[in-house]
Symmetry: C2
């Protein structure tokens, strides 16, 4: 592991769409945000819709008629890859907090091990959104020989202190839940209240004031009041957050969340060489695309611009595409119409 410790024979979960071509140079490696699994799109084996269903497939931006698309579940997550919720083969117990400090360099390394396992020497493109954009950046700085092309979506060279503060508070909400028990919670009785609070703060940081003003305004809902209810629930935006929180919790292991959230804070391109400039100078890219969104609170547009400017110093062909989506950081998940043309244009111009 990048910051010390090791994992005994870890598992990396992944899914693929399309086929490798004869030269085995058409693969796209996709890193995910903090919470998704490797199930980015439906397939014969799993017909349920993926988290980027409208982006991956025949004729879509990640065109499976042309490309071999690989999505990996981040190391440290709980959807098949080894993480704090996995059994440590050395002692037969769950890792929990004995899991080593996780970094996005480790997540990137797992992607590198995967492509070697798949017999791929060079990738067509490495890409990712949100935390996945930083994992992809960690990949291209650690393994510069493995690809010449890079796409970053709503990501950054490193987290801003405000974003660290948001995530730190989310983690504290979970750690303050008495049911967390220093990470030793019962699997059938996890710190769900802390997780729901954290999810609500997540939603607040993932969307935008403008979207919610249009969507909810000051609309009310009518419901039966219990004691204490006078402090919550009247407004539609509150019931929306409640529904989102209920939907999310229970799906994601609390300790895995803590590790991945902290890994997002820790990543800093400047640690690769001592400065951002030195980090950028390690890259061996020919072509890069940076997409950001004006209303992004967590990874503000100024950070996308900083990334694009840094890349321009060392990469011949850099496109920076600021989008005026109103759905904030989540736009890449919920406003794909705005992103598809940009990603299509990138791959079309590779021919």
């Amino acid at each position: 592991m990048h910051r010390g410790g090791y994992l005994e024979s870890p598992t990396f979960a992944y899914e693929t769409w399309g086929e490798p071509n004869e030269k085995r140079d058409n693969a796209i490696l996709l890193f995910t945000g903090l919470s998704p699994s490797a199930h980015a799109a439906s397939s014969v084996e799993n017909s349920s819709a993926g988290w980027w269903e409208d982006m991956i497939g025949p004729g879509l931006p990640l065109d499976t008629n042309i490309h071999y698309v690989i999505c990996i579940n981040s190391l440290g997550s709980c959807f098949g890859s080894t993480g704090p919720a996995s059994v440590n083969p050395e002692n037969g117990e769950l890792y929990r907090l004995s899991f080593p400090v996780l970094t996005l360099e480790d997540v990137a390394r797992s992607g590198y091990e995967l492509i070697r396992h798949l017999g791929l020497e060079e990738l067509h493109t490495v890409m990712g959104a949100s935390m996945g954009g930083m994992s992809a950046l960690a990949f291209v700085v650690q393994h510069p020989e493995a690809t010449n092309r890079f796409i970053s979506i709503s990501s950054a060279t490193r987290a801003l202190p405000l974003s660290i503060a948001v995530r730190s508070l989310q983690r504290e909400m979970i750690r303050r839940d008495p049911k967390w028990m220093n990470g030793n919670y019962y699997l059938d009785d996890p710190p769900i209240i802390g997780q729901r609070l954290a999810r609500k703060l997540g939603m607040i940081s993932y969307r935008s004031a403008k979207e919610w003003a249009n969507r909810f305004a000051r609309e009310r809902i009518v419901f039966e009041k219990a004691p204490g209810d006078q402090f919550a629930g009247d407004f539609s935006v509150e019931s929306y957050l409640e529904a989102q929180a209920i939907k999310f919790s229970g799906q994601f292991d609390a300790n895995c969340y803590l590790y991945l959230s902290r890994a997002s804070d820790l990543f800093d391109l400047a640690e690769h060489g001592g400065s951002l400039k030195a980090g950028f100078s390690k890259l061996q890219l020919d072509k890069a695309l940076v997409i950001g969104v004006e209303t992004d609170f967590l990874f503000p547009l100024s950070q996308q611009e900083q990334l694009a400017v840094g890349l321009t110093e060392v990469v011949e062909d850099v496109s920076f595409r600021p989008l005026d989506c109103i759905k904030g950081h989540d736009s890449f998940l919920v406003d794909m119409d705005a992103f598809r043309p940009e990603i299509c244009a990138f791959f079309e111009s590779c021919c």
Copy 2:
């Protein structure tokens, strides 16, 4: 009370600076944000610095050589005015959650009762910042005959859904603390963990990404690690938030916070007549000043502009002053140098 219920002989705490003039028409009534007391500036009776110390005094923008300045502790607060932490004289017990639903109309009304008690018929100016700006707006719409001048600082005609979401989550953090006990917490063992979490989210919403990027960047602090510490504390921004949270908690009664926070959500100028336009048309102002800050997350500049535009329809002399302070919503407390000239200009042009 505006939404039903009543208070038996409530107390309104206030402080004053300067003296009424002969015509008794030089008084400024100042409403506060959610958490401050009426101690806006030091005085002979209380020499400790107030929360707006550099704004009130001889030769300062609220010039006590000229004006009689009155600051009132909001009804529902816990610094002298009657609120959920007060004893209900009807049964000798603390109100707690039996306190009626609080609105900013009630806060405004308490200001009106106070000026009548002080023998003032007409105020020179009514003003407030943040929640206090909405209380001041409630005052001028409810009691249009009581003043011709109004100043709103970093406030709005009504809260945005994003701001409601932030406050709703803060309240939930407190209500989810097992020590809250449906509002019946022990006074010597209040829901301090929930209050600290709420304060941290408060700080995140009160400041700006830009300020913290300049101030903290990715600076680390060194400290001894306990189990679970790997998820918090490395970054300076995290220890800053922790220090802020510790400083705040214990000073403010948890139930009072819940009531005032909800009152901030509930206020809507449009409820005075059925629309914003109808609300504005009730005003009898000659002169108004609206000040806002570009980096304000909680009361975005677009809201200040909306307020200024609405006022312009019905008030002859309206100034809108957007400031490029980087300290977000809190700028009026921590960047007074930017605000002083604007407030001075308002009062100078009254002569």
